[in-house]
C-alpha cells in the first residue's frame, strides 16, 4: 500500500503486489544514516535509481533503525515482499546477508563492501586502497613540504584500507614524507563520522605542524577538515563522492583538491544489470582502478598538471606492477 500523496515520492508507486513474471523488483537496505546522507548510501541509491530508469526495475529501499539492530529484518521483509535481487549497503550487512541468503536460496543478494559468503550472494568490493594510493600520489606530488595528513572518522578496518593505500601512495613518491594520521573515534563508536568539530581540530593540528594536504575518510567530519584547510589556506582531499560538487559551501569547494571516488552507484547498477542478464552470485566483484570503480575526481582541475604521474601510477597498479596494501 502506498501513501498516495506523499509529496513527490520518488519510489515505486506502481501497482503493489503485482508479482507478474518478468518484472524486476529490486530491494535495497541502507546502512545506518540511510537515504540522504550525501555519501555512501546516496551513491548506492543513485545506482538503484539508474536501474529504475534504464532497466525498468521496480525499486524499494529501506533504512535501518538508528541502532542498526534490524538489518536482518529489513532483508527478510524485502525477501518476503518478493524483491529479488536484494542489496545490502555496507560491510555491516555481511553477516546478515549470509544468514538471509541461506534462508532464501532462491533470491539473489549483493552486499557492498563485504565478500560473498553464500552461493547466492555477490560481494561488491571496492579497492579503496588503490584509489587512496592515487590520492597519496597526488598529495605527495603536490605537497611541497613533504608533509601530509590523514583523518579517519572511525578506526575500523574499512577506513584503515584508505589509510594504507594513501600511505603507500605517498611513500611511492617521497619515501621520507611525513604522514600524520588521526582517527576521531574507535571502532564501534560511529560518532567519529558525525563530528566536524573534531575533524577540524585534528586537521588544524596537522596543518599547523606543516602538512600541506590532508586526506579524509571521515564522513561528515570531513567538513571540519575542509574548514581547517580553508583557514590554513591549504588543501584537502575528499572521499567517496566528488566532494567539490557535493559540498555546497563555495569557500570550502576551493580547498578540495580532488576526491577519492568510490563508485558504489556503479557497483549497484552493474550488479542489477548482471542479475537481469541471468548472472548468479557466489563470487566477489571488485571495483578497482581497472574498471574505474575507484579513482580521483578532477573537478576544479587542480590535479590536471600531475595527470601523467597519476596515470603512470594507475597503470602500474592495473598491470599488477604495484600491489597496494590494504592494511597499514
Amino acid at each position: 500500500a502506498c501513501g498516495g500523496d506523499t509529496g513527490g515520492g520518488t519510489t515505486a508507486s506502481e501497482a503493489p503486489a503485482g508479482e507478474a513474471e518478468g518484472t524486476l523488483k529490486v530491494g535495497l537496505a541502507f546502512d545506518i544514516g540511510g537515504r540522504g546522507d550525501k555519501s555512501f548510501n546516496d551513491a548506492a541509491y543513485a545506482g538503484l535509481e539508474k536501474a529504475k530508469t534504464e532497466l525498468g526495475a521496480e525499486i524499494k529501499e529501506l533504512s535501518p533503525a538508528s541502532d542498526g539492530s534490524n538489518r536482518g529484518d529489513l532483508l527478510r521483509q524485502l525477501a518476503d515482499a518478493g524483491y529479488n535481487p536484494i542489496i545490502g549497503v555496507g560491510f555491516a550487512y555481511g553477516e546478515d546477508i549470509k544468514k538471509t541468503a541461506e534462508e532464501y536460496p532462491d533470491i539473489q543478494f549483493a552486499v557492498v563492501d563485504s565478500a560473498s559468503n553464500a552461493p547466492n550472494v555477490t560481494g561488491l568490493l571496492f579497492a579503496e586502497e588503490q584509489g587512496s594510493y592515487l590520492a597519496g600520489v597526488a598529495a605527495a606530488t603536490k605537497a611541497e613540504s613533504g608533509h601530509v595528513g590523514f583523518v579517519g572518522g572511525v578506526e575500523n578496518d574499512l577506513i584503515k584500507k584508505f589509510q594504507a593505500g594513501f600511505e603507500a601512495g605517498v611513500k611511492s613518491v617521497k619515501s621520507d614524507a611525513k604522514i600524520d594520521v588521526k582517527y576521531l573515534t574507535p571502532d564501534g563508536d560511529f560518532s567519529g563520522f558525525k563530528a566536524p568539530d573534531k575533524g577540524k581540530v585534528a586537521a588544524e593540528k596537522m596543518f599547523q605542524d606543516g602538512a600541506d594536504i590532508v586526506y579524509h575518510a571521515a564522513g561528515d567530519s570531513g567538513l571540519g577538515v575542509f574548514q581547517a584547510a580553508a583557514a590554513a589556506k591549504k588543501k584537502a582531499i575528499g572521499v567517496d563522492s566528488d566532494q567539490r560538487q557535493t559540498v555546497k559551501e563555495t569557500d570550502l569547494q576551493g580547498v578540495i583538491m580532488t576526491s577519492m571516488l568510490k563508485r558504489v552507484d556503479v557497483g549497484v547498477f552493474e550488479f542489477i544489470k548482471a542479475f537481469q542478464g541471468g548472472a548468479k552470485g557466489g563470487t566477489d566483484i571488485t571495483y578497482d582502478l581497472k574498471v574505474d570503480g575507484v579513482g580521483l575526481s578532477t573537478t576544479g582541475g587542480e590535479i590536471d598538471d600531475i595527470k601523467d604521474e597519476l596515470d603512470a601510477a594507475k597503470k602500474d597498479i592495473v598491470e599488477g606492477k604495484i600491489t597496494v596494501p590494504s592494511k597499514p
Binding site: 555481511g94 553477516e95 538471509t100 534462508e103 574507535p186 571502532d187 563508536d189
Partner: protein
C-alpha cells in the same frame, strides 16, 4: 474493593489514556508529514501477506522485546531504590564481549557451555557495576555521573578488546571486527516449534524466535520474587521509599547500594546474550548498541515492576518492528521514536496524576470508614 486493586485499576486507566493521547499526537505529526495516520497505524499491524513473513515479523518482534525486557529489569532494580544506574549501557556491552570471548575458548556440552557464558556475562556486568557502587559508598560519588563516565570507558574498552586481545578470525573480505566464533554448543536452541503449535509456518531457519526468551521469562519471575517477596526486596523497597527510615530500621544503605547495583549490573550483563547466543554467535562491531538507554525508558514505562516492564518491552518492540513496514507505507519511520518518547512522557505524567487521585481517594475512604471528623456542634 481492596486498596491495591483500586490503585492498579487507576494505573491501567492512566496508561490507556496516555497511549491514546500519544497516538493522537503522533497522528498530527504523521499528517504534518503528508502521510495518512490510518495507513501508518495499519503498517504497525501489517505483518505481511505470506505466512512466512508473518512468522518472521512475530519473531522479529519477540526477539526485539527480549533484550529490552532484560534491560528494563536491570534498570528497574536500581530505580526501585532511587539508584539511577545509567551505566547499563556500558555494563552490557562489556559483559557481552567478555562472555562471547570466554565462550569461544572452550567447548562443553550445551547446558554447561551456555550456563558458563551466562555466568560470565552476569559476573562481568555485576563487577563493572560494582565500580560506581563502591565509589558511591566509599566516596559519595554521584552514581549518575559515575555511570555516565563509565559508559564511555566501557564503549572504548570493548572496541579495544574486539580488535585487540579478543579479536577472532574473520572470513576473507569481511570487514566487521569480531570475537572468535562460538562453538555450536553455545548457541541457544530457538523456539520455532512454538509456531507449529499454532499451525503456523516456522520462521526461516537461521532466524526464528530466540530461545533466550525463556531465560528472560525466568529472570523476570526471579526478579519479581526477589523484589516482592524476600527480605532483600523489602529492604530495597524501604530504601527507595525512605532512605533515613530504612537506615534507622537497620538496613545498611551501603550494602544495599552495592547489592542493588551489582544485581542490576549482573542482569544488565545478560542483555547482549539473546543476540549473541541466538543469532550472531560472536560479539562484533555491529552489536546492537543503545539498549541500556532504551532500558531506562522501558523500566519507567513499566513502573519498575517486572510485569509492567514486560508489557513496556513488548510495546516498544512492537513499535520497533514496524520500521520496515512504515517505510513500505511511505511513512517516516522516525514516528516510532516519537511515539515511544511521547508515550513515556505521557505515561509518567499519567502515573503522577492517577497516583495522586488514587491516594486522595484512599484518604477519603479511610476517613469515611472511620466515620470520625464530623464537625462538632458549636455550643457556645
Amino acid at each position: 474493593m481492596p486498596a491495591g486493586l483500586n490503585r492498579a485499576l487507576f494505573t491501567v486507566a492512566g496508561a490507556v489514556v496516555a497511549i491514546i493521547l500519544a497516538i493522537a499526537i503522533c497522528s498530527v505529526a504523521i499528517v504534518a508529514a503528508g502521510a495518512d495516520p490510518l495507513t501508518a497505524f495499519a503498517a504497525f499491524f501489517d505483518f505481511g501477506a505470506s505466512a512466512r513473513s508473518q512468522s518472521n515479523g512475530i519473531a522479529a518482534f519477540l526477539n526485539r522485546a527480549v533484550p529490552l525486557f532484560i534491560a528494563g529489569l536491570a534498570v528497574a532494580v536500581g530505580f526501585r531504590m532511587n539508584l539511577f544506574n545509567i551505566g547499563v549501557e556500558g555494563q552490557y556491552r562489556l559483559a557481552a564481549i567478555c562472555a562471547a570471548y570466554v565462550g569461544s575458548t572452550f567447548t562443553a556440552p550445551k547446558p554447561i557451555q551456555i550456563t558458563v557464558i551466562i555466568l560470565v556475562a552476569a559476573a562481568v556486568g555485576g563487577l563493572y557495576a560494582l565500580i560506581p557502587a563502591v565509589m558511591k559508598v566509599t566516596r559519595g560519588v554521584n552514581e549518575v555521573i559515575a555511570t555516565i563516565m563509565l559508559n564511555y570507558i566501557a564503549i572504548n574498552l570493548t572496541s579495544y578488546l574486539v580488535r585487540g586481545p579478543f579479536a577472532g578470525q574473520r572470513d576473507a573480505g569481511e570487514l566487521t571486527t569480531t570475537t572468535p566464533d562460538l562453538p555450536e554448543s553455545a548457541m541457544f536452541p530457538n523456539l520455532n516449534f512454538f509456531f507449529d503449535w499454532f499451525g503456523m509456518l516456522p520462521p526461516t531457519r537461521g532466524g526464528g524466535v530466540w530461545g533466550f526468551l525463556l531465560v528472560a521469562v525466568v529472570l523476570g519471575l526471579v526478579v519479581w520474587v526477589v523484589l516482592e517477596r524476600t527480605r532483600f526486596g523489602f529492604d530495597v523497597k524501604a530504601s527507595g521509599l525512605n532512605g533515613p527510615a530504612a537506615l534507622a530500621s537497620g538496613v545498611n544503605p551501603k550494602t544495599m547500594v552495592i547489592a542493588a547495583m551489582v544485581m542490576s549490573g549482573a542482569i544488565a550483563g545478560l542483555i547482549g546474550l539473546p543476540e549473541i547466543l541466538g543469532d550472531r554467535g560472536a560479539f562484533n562491531s555491529n552489536f546492537t548498541a543503545g539498549l541500556g538507554f532504551l532500558g531506562i525508558a522501558v523500566a519507567l514505562l513499566g513502573r519498575n515492576k517486572p510485569v509492567g516492564i514486560a508489557i513496556a518491552a513488548l510495546l516498544f518492540a512492537f513499535l520497533d518492528r514496524a520500521q520496515g513496514a512504515l517505510q513500505i507505507a511511505e511513512v517516516p519511520p522516525s514516528v516510532i521514536t516519537i511515539i515511544q518518547g511521547v508515550i513515556v512522557l505521557l505515561v509518567v505524567v499519567a502515573n503522577e496524576v492517577t497516583n495522586r487521585l488514587a491516594l486522595r481517594l484512599e484518604e477519603r475512604r479511610a476517613a469515611r470508614q472511620l466515620g470520625g471528623n464530623s464537625p462538632v456542634e458549636v455550643g457556645a
